[in-house]
Subunit: 70 residues, 2 copies
DNA sequence: TAAAAATTTATTGTTTTTCAATAAATTTTT
DNA sequence: AAAAATTTATTGAAAAACAATAAATTTTTA
């Protein structure tokens, strides 16, 4: 399972969703979807913009977690 | 710019493109495209399968590099 | 607590892209 | 040289990003 840690990074940079969405050129509504694990894919251009705006690496935003169902 | 280091990780795991494509259920042709920076987006399900098969993190496969044009 | 601001949810539609499937060309390995 | 692996190319279907918009909800702040 791929976990999106956008919220963590946003908190670290103290940037709001509205400001960030404005910076990377995506609507707040759609960024919210991406932030809350609702997205099923991501454009590299969007990931690029996020890394640039948040000054971070893809690894800071995306995390692989193996789900262990019993 | 987002750089894909799939080839690096494949080399580290000593796994061929054919084997990997077989493991994650994607055609060699399409995995090749993804590996060679031709892709413009990636499904999280595909990234998930790659991380699982290569036992690595998204950060091992994706890297943000700021392009400095003079 | 009331107003304002921020975030989330929902919906519809367009455009883009993944990925399948296939075939052929090219490169690498044996 | 032959075999195996990889890349390139193409077409098409299904999926998804993202826009745009509106409304609901939550959080912040005065």
């Amino acid at each position: 399972m791929i976990k999106i840690n956008l919220d963590v990074m946003m908190a670290k940079r103290k940037i709001s969703l509205n400001t960030l969405s404005d910076t990377i050129g995506i609507t707040p509504a759609n960024l919210s979807i991406l932030k809350n694990e609702k997205g099923k894919a991501i454009r590299l251009s969007t990931l690029d913009a996020l890394c640039k705006a948040l000054d971070c690496q893809p690894g800071d935003l995306l995390e692989y977690v193996e789900d262990e169902s019993i």
